[in-house]
Amino acid sequence: MTLRTEPVVVSIGPHHPSTHGVFRMRLTFDGENIVDAEPVIGYLHRGTEKLAEERQYTQVITLTDRLDYVSSMTSNQAFVLSCEKLIGLDVPDRGMYLRVIASELQRIVSHLIGVGFFLQELGGFGGTALMYAFRERERILDLFEMLCGARITVSYARIGGVFADAPADFWPALRRVLDDLPGYTDELEALVFESEIVQARTKGVSVIDPVLAVNASLTGPVLRGSGVAWDWRKAAPYDVYDRVDFDVPVGENGDNYDRFWVRIQEVRQSLRIVEQCVVQIEPGPVRATDAMLFRPPPGEAYVPTESPKGELGFYLVSDGSIAPYRCHVRAPSFINLSLFKEMLVGWKLADAIVSLGSLDFNMGEVDR
């Protein structure tokens, strides 16, 4: 006698503890094994692109805060870079340096959150790793508060630079954070990197082939985890990335462990960049113009930037009015989900959650 079994469809999300907000996956199971996976998105759609068409360029900056809400600085930067290209503004050096310092600190924050939640989804440590990640993140958010009065929705960058110079007490505070962060990162690494359980759970799981990754337009740490050294900060340096020295860490196998490893390494590289910027930065104006209202000439602009999640760019079309005619967001989180099914099928439920965490996507950016 044979027992008849049938696949079970389980809807994980949109209300689920580990789907990064309101992501939903429709997984078909054969026992614990996944035989089919389908992402369902759109639960956080706020119409950002349409809203941007009805707002002046400066006002759109506040919308970009809310795209990838754990990485607002880089979203701000990506948007104003496109605007500056559209308008044809030259940004003063100090403004660019401040933007890079802020963006790299934001990258650390974003990666810490990514790593923290990845480890949380790996089974928690009872939340220990996440708490350690948040401890470090708080230090940086304190810096952001000093810099621009907000911790998450920063709206720091302005078209033509940043809104204001850093206050005097920012620099010693930054120094303290830069001194403490490597030790913190070491601690996080000691907790997880050599842990046999972490390795058993993540090595060799959900491997993404580099060719497949490139063909699916994956970017950011997900692509670099697969061994493709592609970073817009190197490929087409914006702001002052051509004046600083840093490495692009790449993984070997393209598994969950490598994606996670790449993020931790990028935290160290970001620290390097900030250290160099602090040395190189010189007094001067931080903003090319105090204007808040712009009428760019008709045309279009797109500047690819390397956000913590991948290639983030704003494709702006101007018709000569005060608001963009079209504002398309090339959201890395969304495009990194394209290999969702290939990553998950054949693995177990526990792996699916971890693989999802290794993609480190953000629903604010996926649904926009």
Partner: protein
């Protein structure tokens, strides 16, 4: 056993009650037994539940400190009233039973979960001469009764009519059944050493803690018991990042509360089992030992001091276990279900077999080991344990097996 007194003969409290009821008042002996047993049960059950409740607070506080925060600290001094606040909140929550649920089984599951936890306490000696029943098959009883909780988990998962709950309960059955075997084998080593299955006798036979004498057995026992307790790194039944709350997903209100109480009490009970089987139970040096050694302190060497001391030692050992359990929870991520089963069958089972084998040979060589001979055995066993764990790490791989189903099979399966 024999007679109406069951296993209570050695109990100090029973002897006092017997003295009053039978010898002074001249009543029937069974009445003394009834009164003594009832009072002890009352104390033990409520004490265990109170400890389990306290442990919810303890774990949250300690886990908080491991994570660089304080934990509950608002209700009462150091947040000590937090469990009471939680209980009040749970009592006032709506008791929801899902529409598709099997109502009877759904409501029965929390009870089935809690009862065996308390039943195990019957054979645990809490102090010198302080126990409910000195069963001559105590260890067997612990294993038999402790296994019932699996059924409760299965009941809860099945009755909830929820896919997450079903996942959780299926994992529970696979895991707990697998880990019963290494657990029993680890206990077998202890009974071999003590040449008795009576828990009291095992405690008294431990001139040296069996943790030191049989480290491999202790390691296997600790690993297996954390699987039995559904604690990290084996907490796949609840696995909040995967299964929301596993078999508890549909539970709310006091039913959920009873489940949680049972789980936390379980940890305390497991600590008690570990304390008596591997940590010398109530034994330990204290004031009375000081009194027996130092002349002018001899007034400390009395029965009452010994009693209090033995209970304190027992509680301290349970507390140590609770702390270590929380420490493990703060440090280890979760294993995947196939890796958990692989660990049970590929690593723990051979290790526990080896443990029993080595101990059996040693018991033949030293049939009634003294403290010194136990020391020699400990040295041998530590070497064996180190070599075995080294070999296991080299030979056995828990890492991922090949993909189960490819994309093509997936399409066909649909």
């Amino acid at each position: 056993m024999g007679g109406p007194t069951g296993g209570l003969e050695g109990n100090a409290f029973y002897r006092v009650v017997y003295g009053v009821v039978v010898e002074d008042l001249g009543w029937e002996p069974w009445l003394a037994y009834l009164i003594a047993a009832m009072v002890i049960i009352l104390i033990v059950v409520n004490g265990a539940l109170a400890l389990g409740t306290l442990y919810t607070w303890f774990e949250r506080r300690v886990l908080g400190r491991f994570q660089g925060r304080l934990g509950p600290n608002r209700t009462g001094p150091f947040g000590l009233l937090q469990p009471i606040a939680d209980a009040i909140k749970l009592m006032f929550k709506e008791d929801i039973v899902p529409r598709g649920a099997d109502r009877l089984v759904f409501s029965l599951a929390p009870v089935v979960m809690l009862v065996p936890t308390l039943l195990v306490l019957a054979v645990i000696p809490f102090g010198k001469g302080s126990f409910l029943a000195d069963l001559n098959i105590g260890v067997l009883y612990i294993v038999a009764v402790g296994g019932i909780t699996t059924i409760a988990v299965l009941m809860a998962g099945y009755a909830s009519a929820n896919k997450f709950a079903t996942f959780g309960s299926m994992r529970a059955v696979a895991m707990v059944v697998s880990y019963e075997i290494p657990l029993v084998m680890a206990l077998l080593g202890v009974t071999l050493l003590a040449a008795s299955m009576s828990v009291v006798a095992i405690v008294e036979a431990q001139h040296l803690p069996y943790l030191l004498v049989a480290p491999l057995g202790a390691f296997v026992f600790l690993t297996a018991i954390s699987a039995e307790l559904n604690r990290n790194p084996f907490d796949v039944l609840e696995a909040e990042s995967e299964l929301v709350a596993g078999y508890l997903t549909e539970y709310s209100g006091m039913k959920y509360g009873v489940f949680m109480l049972a789980e936390f009490t379980n940890t305390i009970v497991a600590g008690a089992i570990f304390a008596v089987l591997f940590l010398q139970g109530w034994q330990g040096p204290g004031l009375s030992w000081l009194g027996s050694q130092v002349g002018f302190l001899s007034f400390l060497d009395t029965g009452a001091v010994r009693q209090i001391e033995s209970h304190a030692w027992f509680l301290a050992k349970v507390g140590l276990f609770a702390f270590v359990a929380t420490w493990v929870r703060a440090t280890l991520p979760r294993l995947r279900i196939d890796q958990i089963l692989a660990l049970a069958w590929k690593v723990l089972f051979p290790l526990s077999m080896l443990n029993v084998l080595v101990l059996a040979v040693e018991v033949i060589v030293w049939p009634e080991p003294s403290a010194g001979e136990l020391g020699i055995m400990a040295a041998i066993n530590w070497a064996v344990a180190g070599a075995a764990i080294f070999a296991a790490a080299r030979l056995v791989s828990l890492s991922t097996p090949a993909r189960g189903l490819g994309p093509v099979a997936a399409v066909e399966a649909r």
